[in-house]
């Protein structure tokens, strides 16, 4: 029996208030204050070394060598500890995941799709959503003031569309541009479901994405479930490297965090939230550039647990050009640092919420300490090779890292049943790809610390093919 498909257009009012402490501050004053503080601290440290060094057996030259060697040794230990702890925790999680069956919970789910100038990809995204292996869901597209034909394309999709198990309701909210966080909030407010799935407009979900992720909500302490993000546009140098990075660097770390139910970032392309957890956290905020990291930290701060579901896959379009990749990583780094700064009270006081403190330190380490160590170790080897002729040192360093990365890649690819052809990329992954990303991270950190202005960038999309192809 056919349903009459008349579309009703109604006007709604959305809350747009957003308190942002950073906005109210005078930027130039903050900048000068920070530069002066940094200068004073550096000057004090130099004075301290200058006056205390004559009382030690070290000269200036040997101090430099000694400090570098100790730093390198610490870096190596930290690197190995990081790798093996992630692998062991991820193994324990996956072992537990494999033998712990949870099925039989099928709540009503609203899929929120925020779109901004996604005219090329929105139709394909929605079509992929209509073929999901789940019977109890609706789709809410939120057009965030697009300037291309996104709204026209989205409007064509409104109505009851044929899904895998029946008709699926598709609605559109058309609002003025205000950012992804506000668009997601508008969708969540309009939704009546207990569980909401937030995704990106340019992503496509795997067929069993909702079914596999939603079953974890049977545990009343789970506030959100993070999905597994994979790169779809492969077969290009940069995107293949990112595909390896997603598998080895992001998903495996997420699996390790999930063992402790403390996933630190629910990825933008796929995340399921319990409505109550989002309400407790005060919805998405627009005062950081990593709204997903910020919301995750707020949910954890309210005592909710977060799980990772490796079978809830979202295929996303990765940047194909270097400047697009830098743009993305610049936003991620500054956004994460903003989120950490917003929650600094939890960072320095573990008695409030130890889980959150642990997560914040992990994020701080990954965003700031790790890239700095990687850059300095490489600089040291270049310096040693150019000025002291120890060029073989850099080879052994590279060979060690490449071996470590290749074995990790082999393990991760076997676990995720990924493409084996990604493994050789591990040879150049750490030394060149990660180094480029780390330089971008370090520069972004300096800019964030000095309070430089930034804006949301929009990555150019070329449009994805259906995931079955």
């Amino acid at each position: 029996m056919n349903l009459k498909q008349n579309i009703r257009k109604t006007s709604i009012t959305l809350t747009n208030t957003q308190t942002s402490k950073a906005m109210k501050e005078d930027r130039s004053k903050v900048l000068i204050k920070r530069i002066m503080n940094m200068g004073l601290i550096s000057f004090a440290l130099i004075l301290l070394i200058y006056f205390t060094l004559p009382y030690t057996i070290l000269s200036f030259g040997s101090l430099l060598e000694y400090a570098t060697l100790v730093s390198l040794f610490i870096f190596l230990i930290v690197l190995l500890f990081r790798y093996f702890s992630i692998l062991v925790l991820a193994y324990l999680y996956l072992n537990n995941y494999t033998f712990n069956k949870k099925e039989g919970f099928y709540p009503f789910v609203s899929i929120i799709v925020p779109v901004y100038n996604e005219g090329k990809v929105i139709e394909q995204s929605i079509r992929s959503l209509l073929s999901l292996d789940y019977s109890n869901y609706e789709i809410i597209i939120v057009n965030d003031g697009s300037t291309d034909d996104t709204y026209e394309v989205a409007k064509q999709m409104v109505g009851y569309k044929k899904g895998k198990y029946g008709d699926v309701k598709v609605s559109v909210i058309n609002k003025p541009n205000g950012g992804k966080a506000k668009a997601l909030n508008a969708g969540i407010s309009f939704s009546k479901a207990e569980i909401v799935l937030c995704m990106d407009g340019d992503s496509q979900l795997s067929e069993d994405c909702i079914r596999t992720a939603v079953r974890h909500f049977v545990d009343p302490s789970i506030g959100a479930v993070a999905g597994n993000v994979k790169v779809q546009n492969r077969r290009k140098f940069f995107t293949d490297l990112q595909a390896l990075e997603y598998v080895e660097g992001l998903n495996m770390a997420r699996a390790a965090q999930s063992f402790m139910r403390l996933v630190n970032i629910i990825p933008g392309p796929v995340g399921l939230f319990r409505r109550k957890a989002v309400e407790d956290a005060g919805y998405y905020s627009s005062d950081t550039f990593a709204e997903d990291a910020d919301l995750t930290l707020k949910i954890l701060a309210h005592g909710w647990k977060i799980f990772y579901e490796p079978r809830a896959i979202s295929y996303t379009e990765a940047p194909e050009k270097l400047h697009q990749l830098l743009k993305q990583r610049y936003r991620w780094t500054r956004g994460i640092l903003q989120a950490i700064r917003k929650h600094k009270r939890l960072l320095i006081n573990p008695t409030i919420n130890f889980g959150d403190t642990f997560v914040l330190w992990t994020m701080f380490y990954e965003a700031l300490i790790w890239p700095t160590m990687n850059i300095f170790s490489n600089l040291f080897f270049i310096f040693a090779a150019l000025f002291y002729g120890f060029s073989s040192l850099i080879f052994f360093w590279w060979a060690g890292l490449a071996l470590l990365d290749m074995s990790t890649a082999l393990y991760c690819i076997a676990v995720e049943k990924e493409e084996i052809r990604l493994i050789p990329y591990a040879i150049i992954y750490r030394m060149f790809f990660v180094l480029t990303i780390d330089i971008c991270k370090a520069m972004s950190t300096v800019e964030e610390f000095l309070g430089f202005e930034m804006q949301w960038g929009k990555l150019e999309r070329i449009g994805l093919k259906p995931i079955s192809e």
Partner: protein
């Protein structure tokens, strides 16, 4: 010539090139971004938006809004008068009704940091939820589902402490 010095030279040159390339690309990216920098404009408190839904749903939503008490979350199935093939079921479906009498969704700890975040939605719902949490702390899981620990003690009969 030995292999290691050759490889070491290649890696050294590649690492130096990566440094130069990364810094150069970053500077170019910043120059490109700076050209498109816009001035931030103050945002209004509310925004007018447009909602497009299938008509039957829009009518039902209006009637639901009229019936709804403030702050109450409604999970009513949306049905068309003409009995469409689509029958959304907004209540959770349990295959084995095991969670029927189980605890309601709650965070593990009651948050001491609750005040630091803004927009506490539906304050009136939170008090009963916290009360329920303290009751659920002592619930036992048995073959019949979750039962109160108090009831269990009573049913055990005359256990008295001397």
């Amino acid at each position: 010539m030995e292999l290691i010095p050759i490889l070491a030279t290649i890696i050294l040159m590649a690492t130096i090139s990566t440094f130069i390339l990364a810094i150069g690309a970053y500077i170019l990216y910043k120059v490109r971004e700076r050209q498109g920098l816009q001035v931030e404009v103050p945002q209004p408190a509310t925004l007018q938006a447009e909602l497009l839904t299938p008509e039957l749903i829009a009518e039902q939503l209006q009637t639901q809004e009229q019936k709804r008490a403030p702050g109450q979350i409604m999970f009513e199935p949306i049905r068309a008068t003409a009995q469409p093939s689509y029958k959304p079921q907004v209540e959770p479906i349990f295959v084995q009704q095991r969670a029927q009498a189980g605890p309601q969704p709650q965070p593990v700890r009651s948050a001491s940091t609750a005040q630091q975040y803004q927009q506490p939605m539906r304050q009136e719902n939170r008090q009963p939820a916290q009360a329920a949490l303290s009751e659920q702390k002592f619930m036992k899981y048995t073959a019949d589902g979750y039962v109160s620990a108090k009831e269990n003690v009573k049913s055990q009969g005359a256990v008295k402490w001397r």
